[in-house]
């Protein structure tokens, strides 16, 4: 069965520090991978979308970047965090008929 691992679960980082969130998928090959951010009252905002290794689509301009160095690995990064980067980050993978989500990372930038 397919599983998705996302870590860490919680993270507190100072403004201006770098960020690296990792997500790995098991039980499927060549998945479509996503990073979403969830901020209070704003629902799920799609940040990045990847259909294959090295293929990243950015949905919104922001202080973040994503990379896919391996088929089942998706990394969300920032060189310098802003206060506005705080939120709940979710990794997901999908085919046409369903999406599976990681447990999320609660990022607080202080």
């Amino acid at each position: 069965s397919q599983t998705i691992h996302q870590w860490p679960a919680t993270l507190v980082q100072p403004v201006g520090s770098p960020l690296s969130l990792e997500c790995t998928v098991e039980g499927t090959s060549n998945p479509n991978l996503y990073w979403y951010r969830q901020a209070a009252g704003r629902g799920l905002q799609l940040l990045f979308y990847s259909v294959g290794i090295g293929q990243i689509s950015s949905e919104v301009p922001q202080n973040l970047s994503a990379s896919r160095p391996q088929d089942r690995q998706f990394i969300l990064s920032s060189k310098k965090l802003l206060l506005s980067d705080s939120g709940f980050y979710l990794c997901a993978w999908s085919g046409y008929t369903e999406a599976f989500f990681g447990q999320g990372t609660r990022l607080t930038v202080v």
């Binding site: 479509n32 009252g41 704003r42 629902g43 799920l44 979308y49 997901a92 999406a99 609660r106």
Partner: protein, 115 residues
């Protein structure tokens, strides 16, 4: 491109009352439709989905949703809610063909079930 509108950001109800969470979508192509549930500080879990066939789909915990193509809606209903149904619910859409398969989510509806 697809879009989803969840008309209610918060829905408070009493235990054992019926509930309807509204979802409307827009798309120029055929779609798949989904409802996901999120409990506090957790990821999203699939509640139910419409891919094809019967327009009424059901989940194992008593929720159901009906695909209405003419009204472009996929409202979620439950005839009698429990305290444990308190969560945030997200409607989502993806193109079934001829468009992006990316899942597009609504802003969510917080369902609070009070005793």
């Amino acid at each position: 491109a697809q879009s989803v509108t969840q008309l209610d950001s918060q829905v408070p109800v009493f235990e054992e009352a019926p509930v309807e969470l509204r979802c409307n979508y827009s798309s120029s192509v055929s779609v798949y439709l989904f409802w996901y549930v999120q409990y506090p500080n957790q990821g999203l879990q699939l509640l139910l989905k419409y891919l094809s066939g019967s327009t009424l789909v059901e989940s194992i915990n008593g929720f159901e949703a009906e695909f209405n193509k003419s009204q472009t809606s996929f409202h979620l209903r439950k005839p009698s809610v429990h305290i444990s149904d308190t969560a945030e619910y997200f409607c989502a859409v993806s193109a079934s063909q001829g468009g992006s398969e990316k899942l597009v989510f609504g802003k969510g509806t917080k369902l609070t079930v009070n005793p």
